[in-house]
Subunit: 621 residues, 2 copies
């Protein structure tokens, strides 16, 4: 698996995105392709040695709890998870993109994302270190110096891990309804060096890595509401603030005080997949572990009161691209597994012409699965989905680098493009790499349906990605309800400009001209549908078919990515003489011939503002 | 769940298919709608009491084995499985469609299929009685009188159960490669009253219900090859014969002799889903249980040597419609579960107009999930897939009745229509009701990903249906490679004739005229693609995109079914005043607006005989 993945990454990073050109920038001046490659080598090795061999184990031995004599629930995880975690932390990848002076490597985010792809492919659920670096990254932007030093740095160095605590049992996707309360802790609450000190009470649901003993401490970032003078919570997201709530209390030097905070594990969720990571219900401040004799979890305010969601979005956007990458790597893992199977399993015989019908020569030896057209179709679909999604996600990572290190105009453009592309980078792989995993099962036949092969687990693991970090529906509303409208539609115009640039270049290549025209047509259709959806200005009509809109938008973006990849392929191998070049070319052809034509059906209902679904009365279902 | 299902069945059986009109036929003369309803009532009750409550249990406690002191592997199943099986057998449903004089009810197959739908919805994997009746039904057609009396009747009365043993570890879908050998057992092998006696040696894989102690005995129907005079097996399917191989030997009166046959359980497959049913690897004739001191499983020939596959196809076609029904009922079970959840779960707020953008009033109370347009879209999709698939499967069941009890011309037409529709009845629900289950998970959000709700299990269970009883690829080759060509394309013409009849009638209804034209256009596209696929007469080109062809064919058939249902709805409720009528109308609209437009993308590659996939060299993947 890793050989194919590595050569694909090399092509995307260097032949397409020219990641090595980033080394001319001051921040990356110490780097060269060699140092990038060394990071990829290390990641590949750790993933191969510490993650991949244990992917089935962590699924079979899902997290469970034991009850201590004092009533505390203790999480039990396999030893392999501890070892994988340790190896990852020791690699330095947790702070790879950060400054040298805090122990980082000042690596481009593009390279960091590529490095992390090995862990996602090897074992997505052991490899959930995403939240720890996202948590610490947020604190580096919004935290005080003390918060950065005490909390973020101890996450980067691997001592502690991090979570994000948004959802509550009564409010899944609806953050307006957060009911966790935070009240000032004593009259001197503002003089606390770690940040204004509050006491939190409430329940948080779906908290990944919410409890475990993999690290000495856990840094929860918690959304809660500070009641107004009337004691009531402000409705909506405007009332939400952000708090650091450590599992164990710490002093100003980041040493454990020995006192436990009032955060209790209430239970583990038992999931369909992604079982190597705990997913928890946490009770904050219920009084199970009183602090100073009082119930209430001690939390330190981050940023200003009422700006919690704004801070958290910093982490959520990063997390959304991370989810897109997770879905992508599961898709590719299934592709590699089914490719290997198809190359080795003899099954059936080739078709022969027999009087205009299909016949077979039963006395001939069986051929291998990969020699059948329909198996190749299922393999090429997986390749087109998985490699296309990987390219899109790395493109987004490259935009992150541009946003942080480009000149002002380029940085602003990158920021806005990211706003528009993030819902696609998250949703498209979640949907299509899940489909890829289903095709990987199908290629295995009955064996694919057993737990003796890895593909059923990839499919189960991948099903989460359309749900967490904003469901498919939420992403679609974000795209059509916000992102394509923001700044007077400039984000959409920027994207259209880039797509049109690609079209113009591709029109110069005879073998790509037809596809270039098809992409231009698709872009025009998406643009027209966007206008038609909003023609009446009525959100209920515009957004009634937001998901089909996002599907068509995503397929158009991926067609653009594939056209880009085709040109990058020609640039390094004009004759398509290398098998890898022929493969990329084939995947591009597949996408234009089998996939892009699907957008018409999706956009039809968007353009007509079809309300077949929205207006059907409840009792008619 | 059962209320909605029952009213849908009533509509399909009586308002659409006019199943009660069958009672004018001699075979069904004793029946009336009341007796049909009584069978449905009983089925609904047993499914509710003995199946539904234990669906999660049989998933959690999947079959396992214990080793007896003599080395025999004994299968351990939950007690609930025994009780469900007993209640089902006592209901008489195993022989519902058979003659009174063998203890049957002479029920139309249409009604039997409808009755079985309750069990499939309640617990597909407890409810695997399909193979036992299919096995016995085959013997009623191809067995001798003694074989019928000894084996089939003891399956119908519930004493014994049945299997079909086709696949082998080295030959999944490829029956040509069956390597199980059957040699005559002694010089007097032809004088055995139970049928010519052979000894079988070989391994059979993926055998559902292949071993258990639910019944006193198990009747295996086994495909094997009788070696020629040179001791070699005939290549291809022509060399295959069919044998009855009981787990325990029996005398001519159907009493156990006390001697075990040489059939050994080698192991259980550990599956992704469908865990209430054992799935086994069986070793025939390895000598673990020698018979008369000799290794070799005793088997009795059914039909003529070399005609085994022909006999088995009788069972396979029935099984394929059964699989379509299984997939359908899993789809509907997920629909009902997610509908219930959406009606009760408060989450989020309605969209409001806010200066041409989407806003929400955070101070308003939350609304329930079903009040959101995208949730309704996901519900209506499930309804359109599930109820449409149920209608198609019952239509096929009605054709079976026509084939068996119609006049000669009608029976022949029904036979040929069934040939064409069987691949669709099997494949379409397998694909789209799986998608329905994914939507049911999505509606549940994070909760849908946990094992605390039933939908993730439906999705896992349903994933099998594109694999067993002929994979999706096999069905597609059958459709485009055989069924649309057979008898000079008369089957396809018959189907087109029926679709055109529906179109003509719908054109008279103003509200349906546009859809009627769309269906006529779709039919024309499918017809043109069929011709274009075979234009060169080259099977490798024609069949390179057999699966996309089947997808488009299936969507066209389902659009036809929905147009039929719309007219049947108008016939009973012209004003669409009843909620159920409005719901069916909405599902029909959904299908025409959101689904039928998809066929263009699928047919494009069929019509151009696109070989992007087929010609990509292996090393390019």
């Amino acid at each position: 698996m890793t050989t194919s993945l590595r050569s694909t990454l090399d092509f995307l990073l260097y032949s397409w995105l020219q990641a090595d050109a980033l080394t001319v920038r001051e921040r990356f001046a110490d780097h060269a392709r060699e140092t990038f490659d060394a990071v990829l080598d290390t990641s590949e090795r750790i993933a191969r040695e510490k993650y991949a061999p244990f992917n089935r184990l962590v699924d079979n031995e899902e997290p469970r709890t034991e009850t201590e004599p004092d009533g505390t629930l203790r999480v039990v995880l396999p030893q392999a998870t501890y070892e994988a975690r340790r190896a990852y932390a020791e690699s330095g990848l947790l702070s790879a993109a950060h400054d040298y002076d805090i122990g980082g490597m000042q690596l481009p985010y593009t390279v960091e994302a590529a490095a992390n792809s090995f862990f996602a492919a090897a074992s997505i659920s052991i490899g959930s270190n995403l939240l720890t670096s996202g948590n610490a990254n947020l604190l580096m932007v919004h935290g005080t110096d003390v918060q950065k030093r005490v909390f973020a740095l101890n996450e980067f160095n691997g001592r502690w891990s991090g979570t994000m605590c948004l959802s509550e049992p009564q409010a899944g996707s609806s953050l307006s309804d957060v009911a966790t309360r935070a009240v000032p802790d004593g009259a001197d609450f503002e003089s606390e060096p770690l940040g204004p000190r509050y006491r939190l009470k409430g329940n948080k649901m779906w908290i990944s890595s919410g409890d475990h003993e993999l690290t000495e401490n856990i840094v929860h970032l918690v959304l809660a509401k500070i009641p107004g003078p009337d004691g009531k919570l402000v409705p909506g997201v405007k009332g939400i603030s952000l708090f650091i709530v450590p599992k164990k209390l710490v002093d100003n030097e980041g040493q454990l005080t020995g006192e436990r905070n009032d955060v209790a594990l209430a239970g583990l969720n038992h999931k369909l997949g992604w079982r190597g990571t705990t997913n928890t219900l946490l009770n904050f401040g219920e009084g199970k572990y009183p602090v100073g004799g009082e119930p209430g979890a001690v939390g330190y305010l981050v940023g200003k009161p009422g700006e919690g969601l704004k801070c958290m979005f910093h982490m959520m956007n990063e997390a959304r691209i991370g989810i897109g990458m997770a879905a992508t790597m599961l898709g590719l893992a299934g592709y590699y597994a089914s490719l290997e199977y198809a190359k080795n399993r003899p099954q059936g015989r080739p078709l022969q012409s027999a009087g205009g019908k299909a016949g077979k020569d039963a006395s001939a030896a069986q051929v291998r699965l990969i020699e059948h057209a329909d198996i190749k179709r299922m393999l090429l679909a997986q390749k087109a989905y998985g490699e296309g999604a990987l390219a899109l996600n790395l493109y987004c990572a490259r935009l992150v680098d541009e946003q942080h290190t480009g000149d002002a105009a380029a940085a602003d453009e990158a920021r806005l493009l990211l706003e528009v592309l993030t819902p696609i980078a998250k949703s498209w792989p979640s949907e299509w790499c899940l489909e890829a995993n289903s095709l990987a099962i199908q290629i295995h036949g009955g064996y694919g349906y057993t737990r003796d092969f890895p593909v059923e687990q990839y499919w189960r693991d991948n099903r989460l990605n359309m749900i967490h970090e904003g469901t498919h529906g939420i992403q679609a509303m974000d795209l059509l309800g916000r992102k394509v409208l923001m700044e007077n539609g400039r984000g959409l115009q920027l994207l259209a400009g880039r797509i049109n640039d690609t079209v113009q270049r591709a029109l110069q290549v005879p073998a790509l001209a037809a596809h270039a025209n098809a992409l231009a047509g698709a872009l025009q259709q998406v643009g027209a549908a966007t206008k038609a959806a909003w023609a009446t200005g009525e959100p209920t009509q515009a957004l009634a078919n937001a998901v089909p809109y996002m599907q068509a938008f995503g397929h158009t973006v991926l067609a653009w990515v594939w056209l880009e990849l085709a040109m990058a392929t020609l640039a390094v191998d004009a004759a398509l003489a290398q098998p890898a070049s022929a493969g990329r070319w084939g995947a591009m052809q597949f996408f234009f011939r089998y996939e892009l034509p699907k957008i018409g059906a999706w956009l039809g209902v968007v353009s007509t503002r079809d309300t077949t679904c929205a207006t059907l009365p409840e009792e008619a279902f």
